[in-house]
């Protein structure tokens, strides 16, 4: 299996005022196509920072980030935006849905950036909502959905444009155990049956069990030896 994500010697530092803090120290990571990786580690260890680099939301201070065959550390922010639209679906802890849009309009958002016709968009939105099991809630606003349902809508939105990579930052962090398990199961199905490569940040060891691999980050460095073997 070829690597869909490959980071080599990546450094990320933040400058706040006069102080520069290095958050990621010379990280090198490869993630294979079709993998489901759980990214774990204590708070402040740099998980979100790493995920943002993989998802093309941010650029490294140095080092190479290659995703889906593209050196995304070399793209301009405009190119990066277009690249994200094609290749990455994002799922956040707090769902981040547009409160004034219905579920289907939320899911449609990424498709507005494509050249699909209105009928095509409707079809794809319907398909994505069906995959997450929420087809009958298409007309509901986020406020009318439970946390688990809202997260399913967010996953549908991440899926709808058929991205290369699904990137999730603590997708179950705000959900109770059984709802979290449903969401994780859904992610597993997306990985196994739909072949989506998934990188998921989580604090929860139980959540990490759903993944095929685990990566542990501590103080901006990978901790070896704790990695579960490929399923």
């Amino acid at each position: 299996m070829s690597a869909i994500v490959s980071l080599s010697n990546v450094v990320k530092s933040y400058t706040r005022g006069k102080q520069t803090v290095e958050v990621l120290h010379h990280l090198s990571i490869e993630i294979a196509q079709g993998d489901f990786v759980a990214l774990m580690g204590p708070s402040g260890s740099g998980k979100t920072t790493l995920l943002n680099l993989i998802g093309g939301l941010d650029r490294p201070s140095s080092g190479e980030v290659k995703v889906a065959g593209e050196r995304i550390d070399q793209l301009s922010s405009g190119q990066l935006a277009k690249w994200r639209a094609r290749h990455v679906g994002f799922v956040f802890q707090f769902y981040n849905l547009m409160p004034m849009l219905s579920a289907e309009r939320n899911v449609e958002l990424p498709l507005l950036l494509t050249s699909l016709s209105s009928a095509q968009r409707k079809k794809n939105v319907q398909a994505a909502l069906t995959v997450v099991g929420l087809a009958e809630r298409a007309k509901h606003k986020p406020a009318e959905l439970s946390g688990g349902q809202a997260q399913r809508v967010a996953i549908a939105r991440a899926l709808v444009a058929d991205p290369t990579l699904l990137v999730c930052d603590e997708p179950t962090g705000d959900l109770d155990r059984s709802t979290a398990d449903e969401i994780l199961h859904l992610l597993q199905v997306l990985n196994k049956d739909h072949g989506k490569t998934i990188v998921m940040v989580t604090h929860d060891p139980k959540a990490a069990e759903y993944a095929s691999h685990q990566l542990h980050l501590d103080k901006g460095q990978l901790v070896e030896g704790d990695v579960k073997a490929a399923a």
């Binding site: 922010s77 277009k82 994002f90 547009m98 409160p99 004034m100 958002l109 990424p110």
Partner: protein, 386 residues
């Protein structure tokens, strides 16, 4: 436009605030539309006075009547097709607030000169047959519900009858209308017969008021007016001859330097609406920072987000502005029916153009800063705020 549902939903994110802002915009553009139409009128832009007609008045003032003996000389000027004379009667119908102008004219001359107004042969005959017969414009007749044969009492503020009484009585013999749609600008007037008027009035015999010349060719206006004024130069009856449009404008301008006042009011209205909608737009963006960050995450470019906020601003301004302008059309219709003595005002193309430019300008002014704020916002920071 596939982004419209997103824009529309965004606009109504805070219903009360959007309604309040739209209400302010509507009120502002209602005022703007009305005032700008008046502005256009005072500048002569919207006056429908294109008939080849010159007005000859006494040089001192149009209230000083010119003598009838000038008539043959005026008729002899080359290019003059017909001459009519009009004496302002100054009558009050029942109550002073019922103001409308009345003029003493010669029916035959009136009919030959004011070709833009149509009076049927039958009614014209009736007018020429009875000395107390008068004709009224269709609008005027409609205003008071007059029918042919109605008796119309008028108390003249200027002319008493021979016996000293001011109570004149006339009979409505005809109602005139547009010759072609919108052509007759005299529909608010009433015309009485000069021969009867001149004989019955206590004083002023032999004066005709102002003269109205119909030209055979509109291009002759300048030459004929020079020639007419030249004819009577240094005589006791010096004249001032101008196009009907200039004549009307001079009359309207007596109301004061309204254009300056209008300009100031317009600016004040703009300034306050700028504050209201500017505040709305900046709040609208501030409270949506995380949502805008999500759009960028999904792949909306910085320029795309900028355009989205500007489009929202434009939608807001056009929605409010258009409602206000449409209301102003209604208001102007009502005003035109009121007895103000001012010619009918309507918003013409220039007013609409001005309004459209105002909407776009306003949208840019209030939208540009929030739009740039949205464009420049960093996804990482905006999403980390939680």
């Amino acid at each position: 436009m596939k982004f419209f549902p997103l824009l529309w939903a965004t606009l109504w994110r805070r219903k009360a605030r959007t309604i309040f802002t739209l209400f302010s915009l509507t009120a502002a553009f209602l005022l703007l539309g009305t005032l700008q139409a008046a502005h256009a009128l005072f500048s002569g832009g919207s006056l429908n006075l294109s008939a080849p007609i010159l007005v000859v008045q006494a040089r001192v003032s149009f209230t000083t009547p010119l003598p009838m003996r000038l008539l043959p000389q005026l008729e002899a000027v080359p290019g003059v097709a017909s001459v009519s004379h009009s004496q302002f009667f100054g009558g009050v119908y029942k109550d002073p607030k019922n103001f409308f102008p009345q003029f003493a004219v010669n029916p035959e001359r009136w009919r030959k000169t004011f070709l833009e107004c149509h009076l049927s042969d039958e009614q014209y005959q009736a007018w020429t047959t009875s000395r107390t017969a008068v004709i009224a414009g269709k609008q005027l007749a409609a205003r008071f519900g007059w029918k042919i044969g109605d008796r119309i009492p008028l108390t003249s503020q200027i002319f008493p009858l021979k016996d000293g009484s001011r109570a004149w009585t006339f009979d409505l013999a005809g109602i005139f209308d547009d010759a072609s749609p919108g052509s007759c600008v005299r529909q608010g007037n009433l015309y009485i017969r000069y021969d009867y008027f001149d004989e019955a009035r206590q004083f002023g015999q032999g004066t005709g008021g102002i003269f109205v010349l119909r030209l055979s060719d509109p291009n002759l206006a300048e030459r004929v007016s020079h020639q007419v004024d030249g004819l009577f130069e240094n005589s006791p009856d010096e004249t001032k001859t101008q196009t009907e449009k200039d004549f009307t404008l001079n009359f309207v301008r007596q109301l004061g330097n309204l254009n300056l006042i209008i300009t100031w009011i317009t600016l004040a209205v703009f300034f306050s609406i700028l504050l209201v909608s500017g505040n709305t737009m900046s709040q609208a963006v501030r409270e949506r920072i995380p949502e805008l960050a999500v759009l960028k995450t999904i792949g909306f470019t910085d320029a795309g987000v900028l355009a989205l906020v500007l489009a929202e601003s434009l939608l807001l301004c056009v929605l409010g502005g258009l409602t206000g302008m449409l209301l102003s059309v209604g208001v102007l219709k009502v005003i035109s029916k009121l007895p103000t003595g001012i010619p009918p005002i309507s918003a013409d193309g220039s007013v609409w153009l001005f309004a459209a430019a105002s909407m776009v300008g306003l949208a840019l002014l209030v939208g540009i800063l929030p739009a740039f704020r949205a464009k420049n916002l960093s996804i990482i920071e905006a999403l980390a705020v939680r």
